[in-house]
């Protein structure tokens, strides 16, 4: 057996790809995941991180709502360390129609979502930051989910089951024999190294970029890119998800996530060519702050950490080339039946919430092609790290008297935190003080989680995600990466890229304390350190 041969190749390191790889690996397949940049760099890492209860879709899209609540309950079981069971509120403000509340609750109940009308006063106590003017509130089982952690855990589980991963590797073309896809040509974007990989089935799980991959394979998948912009605030203003109880609109969800909270989103149709270069405009920033402050008034005086935008992978229905009939549902295309192209499957549409179901559908399709009859188990077996329900329990089990950094590590890694080398003061030393990331945690990520750049490291550990946005930790972490990879020149460039990436999210909201921090970062890196 050739080292470059697999049972299935999955293109795309988003949550769908990583989830599909895990599912395939659990069904006994030899898997390879290929991603042109890092895991969770597309829509996976560029959304709210909302663990939807499905309530948002209950009125207009009952099918999605039902999918959401089912997956919501599954993720609570299998992905405990990626999930924060915060609950959510759908609030009615004086300018909203209170009559909608009943329509909404009825629809939720039909979809199986536990929605409960509560007294506005109770809502204010439940979430002190909520707009005190609210006239109605419904409590739903929303939560928050860390998409980076979820994606990494899926990838890690696939690896633990023998799967292989090639990050920063781009598919440049397909190896075709007649009307059958036999494998892919790739190039490593960091080293320029080229490689071919072979498998009887290839899964296109590239989200919005799936259109391009399909084109390379010679088939057409019509995507309709819709940009959504979001803002991250510098601390956790709310501990309960806040939504508006009305027809879904712009900037009407505020989600607490780890040490921050996120307001979003907008929706703007963009040309496909812009997918790689989405930027947040000043108008979007204004809209997000204005609407956000209606959910939680203190947002108008809270420091904003970053602005970012993602592109939703919406798919046009096959029979409607105009794109008017767009589905937000899951789309799985077997190109053999659809286009006569064998060995190629596209899985797209859907949402972060339903990634596991998408992976199950895609894996079922793969298994049918390979004539494998093993049933899906991803709804039952916890992801690595999620074997315990709470991080308090995890921390207490590993360390008798956990330090702040150890508590933080347990909250990020779940039971995998036991892998952190610890008990040695040098491993316990802090690299990132804002988010409490130790040398040991960083080295654990470098060892097991496919880290090649500082930005990759950030997605695995939260290094540089805190208030200072990497001002102090970036160069410390660069030292550790340089040691791990043995290449200073590459690390120097990496450090520049990292700072550029941080600045990209800072300048659209560059005023007040954010601008002060930016000036200080400029000063430290350019004038003090001499980058």
């Amino acid at each position: 057996m050739n080292a470059n041969e697999f049972d299935v190749i999955i293109i795309g390191g988003g949550i769908t790809g990583a989830g599909t790889q895990r599912d395939c690996a659990m069904r006994g397949l030899r898997t390879l995941l290929i991603e042109r940049s890092d895991i969770a760099t597309g829509a996976t890492g560029r959304n709210h991180g909302l663990l939807h209860s499905g309530a948002r879709y209950a009125v207009n899209d009952p099918e999605s709502a039902e999918e959401c609540i089912k997956e919501n309950m599954i993720l609570r079981r299998i992905a405990a360390h990626c999930i924060d069971e915060t609950d959510g509120l759908f609030i009615t403000l004086p300018e909203d129609d209170l009559a909608y509340q009943q329509t909404f609750v009825d629809a939720c109940r039909r979809a199986g979502i536990g929605a409960e009308i509560i007294d506005p006063e109770l809502a204010r106590r439940m979430e002190p930051s909520v707009n005190p003017d609210l006239i109605g509130a419904v409590k739903v089982p929303d939560g928050s989910v860390d998409p980076f952690r979820l994606c990494a855990a899926n990838m890690l589980d696939a690896k633990l089951r023998g799967g292989q991963v090639r990050l920063h590797t781009e598919v440049t073309g397909f190896i075709k024999e007649g009307n059958t896809i036999k494998g892919v040509h790739t190039v490593n974007r960091q080293t320029g190294e080229k490689a071919d990989y072979y498998a009887p089935v290839t899964v296109n799980a590239c989200g919005i970029w799936g259109q391009h991959i399909a084109e390379l394979a010679g088939v057409k998948v019509g995507m309709f890119p819709a940009k959504g912009a979001l803002l991250i605030f510098a601390h956790r203003v709310n501990n309960v998800v806040i939504n508006r109880c009305r027809k879904p609109a712009n900037a009407d969800i505020l989600v607490p996530g780890d040490t921050v909270c996120v307001i979003g989103t907008t929706s703007t149709r963009i040309p496909f060519e812009e997918c790689d270069h989405v930027a947040v405009t000043p108008d979007e920033v204004t809209l997000l702050i204005t609407e956000g402050a209606k959910l939680a008034p203190s947002l108008s005086s809270t420091r904003i950490l970053r602005a970012y935008a993602g592109v939703r992978p919406l798919v046009s229905a096959d029979d409607d080339p105009s794109g008017r009939n767009i589905s937000r549902g899951i789309v799985c295309l077997d190109h053999e039946t659809r286009d006569g192209l064998k060995g190629f499957i596209t899985i797209t549409g859907g949402k972060l919430m339903t990634y596991r179901l998408m992976a199950e559908i895609a894996t079922d399709a793969v298994c049918r092609k390979l004539a494998i009859e093993k049933a899906c188990e991803t709804a039952d077996i916890p992801l690595p790290g999620s074997e315990e329900k709470s991080y308090e329990a995890v921390a207490q089990k590993i360390w008798e008297a956990p330090t702040t950094a150890q508590k933080a590590a347990a909250s990020r890694m779940g039971t995998r935190a036991s892998r952190i080398r610890t008990g040695n003061k040098r491993d316990d030393a802090l690299i990132c003080e804002c988010e409490e990331v130790s040398v040991g945690e960083i080295n654990a990520a470098i060892d097991r989680l496919e880290v090649s750049t500082l930005t990759d490291l950030r997605r695995r550990t939260r290094v540089g995600m805190g208030t200072c946005q990497g001002e102090f930790c970036a160069c410390r972490a660069a030292g550790l990466l340089a040691k791990a990879h043995g290449c200073i020149e590459r690390e120097r460039k990496d450090l520049e890229d990292f700072l550029q990436e941080r600045w990209k999210g800072n300048f659209p909201i560059g005023w007040g304390d954010t601008l002060r921090e930016a000036e200080y970062t400029q000063w430290v890196y350019k004038h003090v350190l001499g980058l």
Binding site: A408, E433, C468, F472
Partner: protein, 405 residues
């Protein structure tokens, strides 16, 4: 409404730029590696505590609340307030008996004063110290401040009539120390103020400012003291139109700053009328009042700015007053913490850290070799006297000594 136009975040901890300057000025960090430091304990920790109170760190108790981090912070972050507020909000461990005893300075004072000679004799005994050390974990190196046989309140009440005869009046918040341990300081203040034509009266009924209660985790009790004292101040300030003076920098800071910032007790209507006596006297002299100094007075004085006065920025008034006295040879000591921080240094577990923190100050005092060290804080006085053997006097007492009676 123009959103985000208020560039200073309402959430003060977000103004932290992570520059780490505060850590360079934290006296505890240099002496105790178990303390996470002001940045980690303050603004960094706050974000985590908002995520989950589970991230509250018991090591915050090592903070002295000296507020040097706040003085140093270029961003105006109330670092020490964040730390103390977190302790109030999240630390629910009941205080130890020892801490309750140390914290209730006025109660202990009331109890001990009538038996002053006996109590002083007993607490000074080696055997008592050993017992206190072993049972209550009060460090045996410490000597309890002696209790005075007559209280200051008693003394001033006896002189009420002559004080009332002065054309101008102030109220005096004397605090526990002057009342129970060292009435002489109160008498010195009366002498100086009388020389300026100002008579002194008591508040109707003051209670301990409560700083030791806050420091020892008894914030509910502290809040009661605060509410009581603010009401008392209000009677004097708005009721009688008086200014209220103090001779303790810590009582002053507590009532002006900690009441609203830590205990949530509004003092806005009385805050600006509550002054350290040196500021009150300086302002009087600036406006033309005169003090008559003894001819031939000479004293070599080294002035130590207590942490809480450094935070208030009022050390300047005490310094300028001392420099005004003919015959005073004045040295301003570098601004360093003495390490005692009220009841902190009395605790056995803090003794070594406390002495290590104070060492730079002690070394400088020894090298200056003054006749007396001047300082506006009673607990600094105990610490410096115990650690260096030099006598410490409140600037008011030096002033009283230097003027004609």
């Amino acid at each position: 409404m123009k959103l985000q136009e208020y560039t200073e975040s309402k959430h003060n901890f977000e103004e932290c730029m992570k520059c780490t300057v505060c850590t360079a000025y934290c006296p505890v960090l240099q002496a105790n590696p178990l303390y996470p430091g002001p940045k980690q304990a303050g603004p960094d920790g706050e974000r985590l505590r908002l995520k989950d109170p589970y991230f509250f760190n018991q090591a915050l108790k090592y903070c002295l609340n000296c507020k040097r981090c706040e003085v140093a912070c270029p961003s105006g972050v109330n670092v020490a307030d964040l730390i103390q507020s977190a302790r109030i909000k999240y630390d629910h461990t009941p205080p130890k008996l020892r801490d309750v005893m140390l914290a209730n300075t006025d109660f202990m004072g009331k109890l001990a004063r009538p038996f002053a000679p006996i109590v002083n004799g007993v607490t000074g005994l080696g055997i008592t110290k050993t017992v206190l050390d072993a049972t209550l974990k009060i460090d045996h190196h410490r000597t309890f401040p002696k209790y005075s046989g007559t209280s200051f309140e008693g003394w001033l009440k006896r002189h009420r009539k002559e004080q009332a005869a002065f054309p101008e009046q102030v109220a005096y918040f004397h605090g526990c120390y002057v009342n129970y341990n060292y009435p002489q300081l109160g008498k010195d203040l009366v002498k100086v103020l009388n020389a300026l034509g100002v008579g002194v009266q008591l508040l109707e009924k003051e209670k301990c400012c409560g700083i030791a209660l806050i420091a020892n985790g008894m914030s509910a009790q502290a809040r009661k003291h605060a509410e009581h004292n603010v009401e008392q101040l209000r009677q004097a300030v708005t009721g009688k139109g008086l200014k209220v003076v103090t001779t303790s920098s810590t009582c002053t800071l507590t009532m002006r700053e900690e009441y609203p910032n830590l205990l949530g007790v509004d003092n806005a209507d009385v805050r600006e009328s509550l002054l350290l006596a040196t500021r009150f006297i300086y302002e009087k002299l600036e406006k033309g009042a005169q003090l008559k100094f003894k001819p031939g007075y000479h004293k070599k004085v080294a002035y130590h700015t207590p942490c809480h006065l450094e935070k208030m920025g009022w050390g300047i008034f005490s310094q300028k007053l001392l420099q005004m006295i003919p015959g005073v040879e004045f040295t301003l000591l570098d601004s360093n913490c003495c390490g005692i921080s009220g009841t902190y240094g009395f605790k056995k577990e803090n003794y070594e850290v406390s002495q290590a923190i104070g060492e730079p100050l002690f070394a400088q005092i020894r090298s200056v070799n003054p006749e007396v060290v001047a300082c506006d804080c009673e607990t600094c006085k105990w610490q410096i006297e115990m650690s260096t053997g030099y006598t410490v006097m409140n600037p008011i007492s030096i002033l009283a000594e230097a003027i004609e009676s």
